[in-house]
């Protein structure tokens, strides 16, 4: 049980931290640009928000683990140590990829913000490039979800 909860907590905490740091990094760059060009605020806000999704993915996996363990309302399910390990490992993809990809994505996001500062019409291209990084976080999320849902109890 403890192991499974550690996994859930790690999913929420680490990918949340990664996202927080990513949004911070992108936000700092965006704030600098907005001070010169306030009109770009809307476009930049989108770019800043992009590294924020990993935190949500981690949160989702954490909640799914808690739901499966019956910790959110209802009776808690008794699980064996082996099952605990299974939940722990199932959380790992989003823990690791969520944390790192949020940080990597924010670096791309900063570059896209700089690009938008110079060429506001290119923000769509910048957005696409930034989203490419997120693909892998989505794949990790998917794998984590499928594993969490697939563990037999």
């Amino acid at each position: 049980m403890t192991l499974a909860i550690i996994g859930a907590a790690a999913a929420a905490v680490l990918s949340g931290l990664g996202s927080a740091y990513g949004v911070l990094l992108a936000g700092r760059a965006a704030a600098g640009v907005v001070s010169e060009k306030p009109d770009l605020f809307g476009r930049l806000l989108v770019l800043q928000a992009l590294p924020g999704t990993q935190g949500i993915y981690g949160f989702i996996v954490a909640i799914m683990v808690l739901v499966r363990l019956g910790l959110l309302g209802g009776e808690a399910v008794a699980i064996t140590e082996a099952q605990g390990w299974q939940f722990f490992v199932a959380c790992l993809p989003i823990v690791i990829v969520g944390l790192l990809s949020a940080i990597f994505q924010s670096k791309m996001s900063v570059a896209a913000i700089h690009m938008t500062a110079k060429q506001p019409e290119a923000s769509g291209k910048g957005m696409t490039m930034t989203v490419l990084v997120e693909t892998y976080a989505i794949l990790a999320l998917l794998v984590s979800i499928l594993m969490v849902l697939g563990i037999p109890l």
């Binding site: 993915y57 291209k125 957005m127 999320l141």
Partner: protein
């Protein structure tokens, strides 16, 4: 559909140049082509100056407006009012600027006065005229401050020297003090002053401190009265704000006109520009009215020329053009990707949101946003996309059985949280069809370019191959009888691709290997299809956050306060989820279009058709006297 363009060459008399250009600008028909000859630098600093100044004055004026403009407010101006340049609006601007400066100066003066007042306040009880504070033959007189913590010791020292002193008020932590000493003690006193950091003071003014303070206070009151009066004047002037709006937009419009590229000869003026081929007659009418004589030649675009792209689509497709244009504007000669793209964007958007309640919120929110906020440009299109996509969102909500995260009715299709695998396979299916539709557009383009062999041997055989793969997998998973059909489709397609894939390469060996290497494209297509797993992932994330919000709200229910809190959680939680969902749906939907779909056929590299037109930023609309052309 991409509208066909014609190149218009217009020659008119030079003396009518301004009239011609201004009429063309009002009609908004022609996108002028910059002349190749060296352009003289045109001075538009006056226009920029006016634009900048009105912007400053407007933001200044905002502070004095009594009530805010309602969001419904719309500035509509009369035609004549917009196109007559009178001094009145400029005078208003100058008047505003003068008032602004005077108010600023008065504020500055007041703060200086207040500082002076602070300076005199400790000395208020001094009943000697300031100029009379002088040393006499046998005594030295000192006026100044000493730190209040040293006060006692300082006074003791003064007592010891037999000085006479008088204490006054405090200025922060300093005591105002006047003392007189015997002139022979000067050296000792100097030492003492140094030790206690006595801060000696010289008054500049004369008269009693009381009177000075009174004078200063009176001046401040007068200044405040002036500021009040000026503020009232400004508040009155806010009603004339519209004039500033017009002035600013006039300056911008005039700037555009001045920058319009035109070639002057001795007697004539020559313009070259693109117009929509369906607007030829309108252009002729405009020219007829604008100038007494002109010459107009219309030509079809030649090879190597690069006309602008003007999309003309129905009401549904138009907002989605903004998605394409954010990536790249289609070039003039290619097939317009928007009709096909719009349907997919709309469909996929709904799939990612997938909740009946959210769809309803999107519809209401989108319509309110469009009606009340009246956005222009990009935002308007996004508002429309959200409103349109509410339909597919509701549709998928019903299929997934999700109503604000609750399962009110049994899902028509499947609940993605309970059975994600089915939805994953469905997502791949959607992806496969999306990619195939991209290839269909490519095939259509090949036909249009009269590349028949390419259309059939390359594009069509790939379509068959991918569809065959889909059928085969569907057969393996669900209906065994389909396996054979899929297998045959794939085999035929693979055969064609291997046989003809290398036909454009030179040399026998290259032709042979070319077929196999082009078959390698299958790997790319497959990885593209896998990318559609995000349809499941994002749909799941919206669904699960919705569930969590409902669960949180359910936990606190139980008492009256609990129910109130739970309502707040419902509202805030679901709004948050909708906002995040919209952001990721928009972003990831765009990405699927750009990379997976456009990658199959799209060229891009065009530029938008932006005709010479009236520049409106503050003014929302001009009332035209006659029917707008």
């Amino acid at each position: 559909m991409i509208v066909s363009m014609k190149k218009a060459k217009i020659v008119a008399l030079k003396e009518e140049k301004e009239k011609l250009l201004s009429e063309l600008q009002k009609s908004g028909l022609v996108m002028l082509i910059p002349t190749e000859t060296e352009t003289v630098l045109i001075d538009v600093s006056k226009n920029d100056d006016v634009i900048e100044r009105t912007k400053k004055s407007l933001s200044f004026l905002e502070k004095y407006q009594e009530k805010k403009d309602s969001i419904l407010a719309k500035t509509e101006v009369e035609y004549d009012d917009f196109f007559t340049y009178d001094q009145e609006k400029m005078d208003l601007l100058i008047k505003l600027e003068e008032l602004e400066e005077k108010i600023a100066l008065t504020h500055e003066e007041n703060s200086a006065l207040l500082e002076e007042l602070d300076f005199y306040r400790p000395w208020l009880k001094l009943d000697v005229k300031l100029k009379d504070l002088t040393s006499s033959k046998y005594t030295d007189l000192f006026v100044g401050y000493v730190n209040s913590k040293d006060e006692e010791q300082f006074l003791e020292s003064l007592d010891a020297l037999g000085c006479d002193y008088k204490l006054y008020g405090l200025d922060k932590d300093k005591r105002a003090i006047i003392f007189a000493s015997y002139y022979q003690d000067k050296e000792k006193i100097d030492l003492l002053n140094k030790e206690y950091q006595f801060n000696e003071l010289k008054f500049e003014d004369d008269g009693l401190v009381k009177d000075i303070v009174k004078r200063l206070e009176k001046q401040i009151v007068t200044n405040n009265l002036y500021i009040d009066e000026a503020s009232k004047k400004l508040t009155k002037l806010t009603k004339d704000k519209e004039k500033l709006y017009i002035l600013s937009d006039q300056a911008a419009t005039d700037k555009e006109l001045k920058l319009a590229p035109a070639l002057d000869t001795l007697e004539a003026v020559y313009l070259e520009g693109w117009i929509r081929s369906d607007k030829e007659d309108v252009l002729k009418e405009v020219l007829e009215k604008a100038v007494s004589c002109y010459d107009l030649v219309l030509l079809d675009p030649e090879e190597g020329e690069d006309p602008p792209t003007c999309n003309k689509n129905n009401k549904f497709v138009t907002p989605f053009e903004s998605v394409t244009n954010m990536f790249e504007v289609p070039n003039y000669r290619e097939v317009d990707p928007n009709p096909m793209m719009s349907i997919w964007f709309w469909f996929i958007f709904g799939m990612m949101m997938g909740d009946v309640g959210y769809g309803v919120v999107m519809l209401i929110g989108g319509i309110l946003f469009l009606k009340i906020y009246k956005p222009k440009g990009m935002l308007k299109q996004i508002g429309k996309i959200i409103a349109y996509s509410s339909i597919t969102t509701v549709l998928f909500g019903v299929l997934y059985g999700s109503y604000f995260g609750f399962e009110l009715f049994k899902p028509l299709f499947v609940n993605p949280v309970e059975d994600p695998l089915t939805v994953l396979i469905f997502s791949f299916g959607v992806g496969l069809l999306h990619i195939v539709s991209g290839l269909v557009v490519k095939m259509y383009a090949s036909f249009k370019a009269k590349d028949y062999s390419g259309a059939i041997l390359d594009d069509f055989s790939w379509i068959v191959l991918l569809l065959g793969l889909g059928v085969l997998l569907a057969g393996i998973l669900y209906v065994p009888s389909l396996v054979k059909i899929g297998g045959i489709m794939m085999a035929v397609a693979v055969g064609v691709i291997i046989l003809f894939g290398g036909r454009r390469k030179k040399g026998f060996i290259r032709k042979l290997t070319g077929g196999f290497t082009s078959l390698y494209g299958l790997v790319n297509h497959m990885s593209d299809v896998l990318s559609y797993s995000r349809l499941l992932a994002l749909g799941l994330s919206t669904a699960i956050i919705g569930l969590v919000m409902n669960m949180l709200a359910g936990m606190v229910q139980g008492s009256v306060i609990g129910i109130i809190i739970s309502v707040i959680i419902y509202i805030v939680g679901h709004l948050f989820n909708i906002a995040m969902g919209l952001l990721s749906a928009y972003v990831h939907d765009s990405r699927l279009q750009y990379i997976e779909f456009f990658g199959k056929f799209y060229e891009g590299g065009g530029y938008e058709f932006k005709p010479l037109s009236v520049k409106l930023k503050h003014v929302d609309a001009i009332k035209y006297k006659e029917e707008k052309i």
